[in-house]
């Protein structure tokens, strides 16, 4: 290996990359746009739950209940109606997420010590959101019940009950952004490195200049190193910029060590660059390379735990996710950002990513060299 030859190739790559105007939006604008869109749009927070109310009682108690609901930051009563049909209609038209029906004998029943039924209809079409909304509603009802009982008996009943002190760690306010934005950084790293490496080699193939590179004294391993090195440098710089931007713009907490992230990113790059190299060996045109990259990215993305939790997948698929480098990188990047954990906790992920990366990279290099010879 001659470093001089590699250096010249790296220099040529850089010149080529920045001379082509088409590359600029891909390199500079796309990452930021994606970060902003994902950061703002991808949320599963439960907030602003729209409630429609059909109150047949119109009494102090029913108003108290509705006030409790409306005062809760999660709920917002948007529709009052006097017709049961209209309540159904606004549910059907997706104007509300939750409908409340209070019967005419609501207060009489409560005052006589009986239970007053309140019908709550939840729009279940987004099942995960509905589950959370139902849980929040139950919470409001329970608090209301407690208040009513205390009011009625003028004393608190002291019976042995569990007082569950739920403390939410790592992301106390359950903000989607804190969970998704670090994941997007990982996604961007993967897309950029995959696309850039495969394109860099295909471009030479398409232009026919790969033949010229082969007849130069450049040895295959030098060619690979020289082709990959610029993209390692570029993606690393981009990731540092994007991460810093994300931390400042979305005021993300970074509890752990930034350096650890950089090390993880390097290890992750080994596998993605390997895959990029592999794609370049099976594609003839840039078009094909882009499509193939797309085919790789979608399953990597879906089966990484980025949006869909791995724990909710069937067991067989859960095993398969161990082959996905993005899975490990997401655990690391979220661990460092949210949990502030270090090597002591994350070493299995680092190890797995390294082994996976080396296997992928070495086999891709072997295949690539065979193609060159």
């Amino acid at each position: 290996m001659s470093w001089l030859r590699i250096r010249e190739l790296v220099r040529k790559e850089f010149i080529q990359l920045f001379r082509d105007k088409k590359n600029r939006p891909l390199l500079i604008i796309a990452p930021f746009v994606q970060l902003l869109v994902f950061g703002y749009v991808v949320t599963t927070d439960v907030r602003d739950v729209r409630v429609g109310v059909f109150d047949q009682a119109h009494t102090r108690e029913s108003r108290l209940l509705l006030d409790d609901l409306d005062a809760n930051r999660t709920f917002r009563i948007t529709h009052y109606t006097d017709h049961p049909k209209e309540l159904e209609e606004i549910l059907l038209r997706r104007k509300v997420d939750l409908a409340l029906k209070i019967g005419p004998e609501f207060s009489e029943r409560i005052r006589s010590g009986d239970s007053a039924p309140v019908q709550i209809i939840a729009d279940g079409s987004m099942s995960n959101m509905a589950s959370m909304r139902i849980a929040y509603t139950s919470l409001v009802l329970d608090r209301f019940n407690q208040r009513m009982i205390e009011e009625r008996y003028k004393q608190t009943l002291d019976y042995g009950k569990i007082d569950a002190r739920i403390r939410t760690w790592y992301n106390p306010n359950l903000e989607s952004r804190n969970f998704f934005v670090p994941g997007i950084v990982a996604m961007l790293l993967m897309i950029l490195s995959l696309l850039l490496t495969s394109m860099a080699i295909i471009r030479e193939k398409e232009a026919g200049t790969i033949e010229q590179l082969i007849v130069t004294p450049l040895r295959p391993i030098e060619l690979i190193v020289g082709k990959i090195l610029p993209y390692i440098i570029i993606t690393q710089i981009l990731i540092i910029i994007v991460t810093t931007f994300a931390i400042i713009w979305f005021s993300l907490p970074l509890k752990g060590n930034f350096l650890l992230l950089a090390v993880a990113a390097c290890l992750f790059l080994v596998s993605t660059l390997g895959i990029g190299l592999f794609i370049s060996t099976i594609s003839a045109t840039q078009q094909q390379a882009m499509m193939t990259t797309f085919f790789f990215i979608v399953p990597f993305f879906m089966f990484s735990g980025f949006v869909f939790p791995i724990a909710s997948m069937p067991t067989v698929i859960q095993w398969l996710t161990y082959l996905n480098p993005l899975r490990y990188f997401l655990v690391i990047i979220r661990g460092v950002f949210l949990k502030g954990v270090g090597m002591g906790i994350l070493w299995p992920q680092f190890l797995a990513m390294m082994v996976l990366g080396l296997v992928v990279f070495i086999s891709a290099v072997k295949r690539f060299r065979k193609r060159l010879d």
Partner: protein
């Protein structure tokens, strides 16, 4: 408009498609994979929450609590631990979602009719997962306390206190709360965008790149005939994909449509046409396959995935993005799919969305046609 010309162009385009293995792959394999992936493997629901228990009390009651938790369908005890610090390690490593610490003297408090505190540590990093898990544990504790209250009243010989308000929660539209029921229909919209817009975005650009656009111009073919002829094969492929997706959703995953099938076919026909016109428009405007492909991903695929109320509720987005969702065709198509699949709605409710899609179709196809004419077709 000459039907013979259109047929000839359609046939040529069809041959192109069949010969290119990768396009066929994109047209048929990707949709199948997506349906399988989403129907079978990807879910936003929480089946059971992983729990580690640290029992410092070690009494009959505390063990019973653990058993009760494990017996419930919503929880799965991974490990019984003796040390809270080890439980923290489990949380840090992500081996458990929840750690429950039963402090010493817990049973004593319970028996002496005091509040017995239970420490629950929840991994909140995934807000969706954590929010649902929190709902499960709150409901579990409520049920436990209700039993406690009953036995307390029994002991004191008092009448049962009824809860003043009895919330009877019912779920409509997706009674079993399964995410498959809204994700599988939504996938149809994504598939149409991939097949319709991403494939067609390359079609005219390819003619420009190969220089065959000049040849076409010299032929007695009008712009409308060219677009229509090129659209037909893609239209048929997309429609086949939709039918396969509907069939697979129903047979494999039990996602049953509540409304009429004809309305779905009608909506798909309109939406496929919208996707095709969008693809053509991109293709004519960019004239380069590479740029067209990038544009197609950026303005058709990603918005349909993110800005369409598919998985991420529009109501949660900042105002500016909410406005943006109004011009995304997928928003209306997903609204229709949701209405047809889950709500059993008809044209009286969904008519507006149908009309908007038709309006978009007219605008987009006219824009494509006009652009092509400006190019001298």
């Amino acid at each position: 408009m000459n039907p013979v010309t259109i047929k000839a162009i359609a046939r040529k385009e069809f041959y192109h498609l069949v010969r290119d293995f990768r396009s066929m792959y994109l047209a048929f394999v990707i949709p199948l994979l997506m349906i399988l992936m989403f129907g079978y493997a990807l879910s936003l629901d929480v089946d059971s929450v992983k729990v580690v228990i640290v029992d410092h009390d070690k009494t009959k009651e505390s063990r019973e609590l653990a058993q009760k938790l494990n017996a419930s369908a919503y929880f799965q005890i991974v490990r019984q631990l003796n040390d809270s610090l080890v439980a923290v390690r489990y949380l840090d490593q992500g081996l458990t979602t929840m750690a429950i610490v039963i402090p010493p003297g817990w049973t004593e408090d319970l028996k002496a009719d005091r509040e017995a505190s239970l420490q629950v540590l929840l991994d909140g990093s995934d807000p969706n997962f954590a929010g649902i898990s929190r709902g499960y544990i709150t409901a579990f504790v409520e049920a436990y306390n209700r039993d406690q209250l009953l036995s307390f009243l029994n002991r004191k010989g008092m009448d049962e206190i009824k809860a003043p308000v009895d919330g009877r929660i019912r779920v409509w539209f997706n009674e079993d709360l399964e995410s498959q029921n809204f994700i599988v229909p939504g996938i149809i919209a994504i598939i149409i965008m991939i097949v319709g817009a991403m494939l067609t975005s390359l079609v005219i650009a390819r003619e420009y790149e190969n220089g065959t656009m000049e040849t076409i111009r010299s032929l007695p073919v009008g712009g409308g005939e060219l677009l229509l002829g090129k659209a037909i094969p893609y239209f048929l492929i997309a429609l086949t994909d939709v039918l396969v997706a509907v069939f697979m959703g129903q047979v494999l995953f039990g996602v049953v449509m509540k409304s009429s099938f004809c309305l779905l076919v009608l909506a798909s026909t309109i939406y496929i046409s919208v996707a095709l016109s969008l693809g053509f428009l991109i293709s004519i405007a960019t004239k380069s396959q590479l740029v067209a492909n990038q544009m197609a991903i950026l303005i058709t695929f990603l918005p349909s995935l993110l800005l369409s109320n598919f998985v991420f509720p529009i109501g949660n987005m900042p105002k500016i993005f909410q406005m943006l969702t109004y011009i995304i065709p997928a928003t209306y198509f997903i609204d229709i799919l949701n209405g047809l699949y889950l709500r059993g709605l008809g044209l009286s409710h969904l008519g507006q969305s149908y009309l908007i899609l038709v309006g978009m179709l007219i605008v987009l196809s006219y824009a494509g046609f006009a652009l092509l004419r400006k190019e001298g077709m």
